[in-house]
């Protein structure tokens, strides 16, 4: 079972890889976790992870800059239905558009725009940084057996506002409901960082490695 973590010059791939290896080990799942910038490896992978740290436009440019990568991801996920997990900006890239600093085009796999979080309460700091709980809107395999009392680690100033409410799986409360988890078909995305979310994070990663949508 090959899991490809896509290397496109964004994010802390080393710790993401280690978290996936730990989750597999803790849950005795046979998993071959590989960080790769090779579209052929992504095409051949059983599961695909797109991490991302930084600004939307920068990350999109980074992804565009890897020849054939978006085509390989699209073929594996959209055509062949491989399970896909986007993390933080990697999740935001699923949207139609990102509106951070400049307007840029996303993958368009989950309809909607990535917009600034604007809490009504001026006391609330931006970035939304730290540990917060998830409010489940519907069940999802990746959140199976994860108690709602557990916390996830967030660090972001923008979030994905979905067009189709059915794509929204969980929110987190930060003044208003902020998008925390989206999913559609074999595609899932977390605004928080499972690789930095201790118990909740490792449980979610294990669920992803087991997921057979």
């Amino acid at each position: 079972m090959k899991t490809a973590i896509i290397d496109y010059g964004s994010g802390n791939l080393h710790s993401a890889q280690k978290a996936f290896e730990r989750a597999a080990q803790d849950h005795t799942l046979a998993a071959d976790i590989k960080v790769t910038a090779d579209p052929d490896e992504v095409r051949a992978a059983d599961r695909i992870v797109l991490p991302g740290v930084g600004a939307f436009a920068d990350c999109k440019r980074g992804l565009d800059a890897v020849p054939g990568m978006i085509e390989a991801m699209t073929e594996a996920v959209k055509t062949r239905g491989r399970p896909f997990l986007g993390i933080c900006v990697g999740m935001q890239l699923l949207a139609d558009r990102g509106l951070e600093h400049e307007t840029s085009t996303g993958l368009g796999w989950i309809g909607g725009d990535v917009v600034e979080i604007k809490p009504k309460d001026p006391e609330l700091k931006i970035p939304h940084m730290g540990w917060n709980t998830l409010n489940l809107i519907r069940n999802h395999a990746l959140l199976a057996d994860i108690p709602e009392t557990l916390h996830a680690y967030f660090v972001h100033s923008y979030h994905l506002r979905v067009r189709d409410a059915a794509d929204l799986v969980a929110t987190t409360d930060y003044g208003d409901a902020v998008t925390a988890f989206v999913a559609r078909d074999t595609i899932a995305g977390t605004q928080f960082h499972p690789e930095k979310s201790q118990k909740l994070g490792l449980a979610l990663i294990a669920n992803f490695l087991r997921w057979r949508p």
Partner: protein, 257 residues
């Protein structure tokens, strides 16, 4: 609801923890990775390494520490100390740091904050502010930025500086009162509140923690989003859990996962 964060900070020199760390079940108290794992298991919300290695040649040991910590601890890690170039930041992030704290380099070249934030995103750029009260009794409170461990004044007003580096892209401020650092008499709450109220980003209070009540005050009265402490945890005076219980008892939201 977003929880307030409790952040233990480890001073690391040439790859080893200095100031000592005492844990009941810790095999090697001088190994930062062992300490990090103990704090991870204890429920720390984040971890901070401050590198005080004097020579640049020994920086490699820090990278190794960061790498090994990121392999074992699945929680956010901030690393600071001697960060001067974009390359320094890149190396720390690649090794496994989630946030990098910049101090002196930001004071002397503020554009460095812009460049760092543009390159890596605001969320991973922490600006560390060492401030000292310069107003006399009877005057309105005024704090200045100091460098070199609080020895060198810069003439820069701390509140103006905090606003400026935030506008330039700092995603968080790590605020240390040089008057209080090491005193155990509590954070400089007036300073913490003045900075926290002046900026839109989270502020981490640091410098002066001696009791758990000081942490409560840092959040409640200082308006900080997180509290950082070193010796109170390292010497086994209090556990992370005790700190969180104190915060919770005071009605502040904490994570007890």
């Amino acid at each position: 609801m977003l929880k307030v964060r409790v952040i233990p900070c480890l001073d690391v020199k040439d790859g080893r923890v200095v100031k000592g760390v005492q844990f009941v079940d810790l095999i090697d108290a001088g190994d930062p990775v062992q300490s990090a794992m103990a704090y991870d298991a204890a429920g720390a919300d984040e971890l901070c390494f401050l590198d005080i290695t004097a020579s640049h040649e020994n920086r490699g040991t820090l990278m190794d520490v960061v790498r090994r910590t990121a392999e074992a601890c699945f929680m956010p890690l901030t690393v600071g100390g001697g960060v001067r170039t974009i390359e320094d930041i890149r190396n720390l992030l690649l090794a496994g740091a989630d946030k990098v704290s910049i101090m002196t380099a930001a004071v002397f070249d503020r554009d460095f904050v812009n460049r760092a934030a543009e390159k890596f995103g605001n969320q991973c750029i922490v600006v560390a502010i060492d401030a000292k009260k310069v107003s006399q009794d009877g005057e309105a409170d005024r704090w200045e930025i100091f460098t070199h461990g609080g020895r060198k004044p810069t003439g820069i007003d701390a509140i103006d500086y905090a606003r400026d580096v935030t506008a330039r892209g700092a995603g968080e401020l790590l605020l240390t009162s040089m008057d209080r650092d090491g005193t155990k008499v509590g954070y400089d709450l007036a300073l913490t509140r003045a900075i926290a109220d002046a900026v839109s980003v989270p502020v981490i209070a640091s410098g002066g923690v001696g009791t758990l009540q000081h942490m409560v005050e840092g959040i409640r009265d200082g308006h900080a989003s997180a509290v950082l402490a070193a010796s109170i945890f390292h010497f086994g005076h209090h556990t992370i859990r005790e700190a969180k219980t104190a915060l919770q008892t005071a009605g502040l939201p904490v994570r007890m996962d």
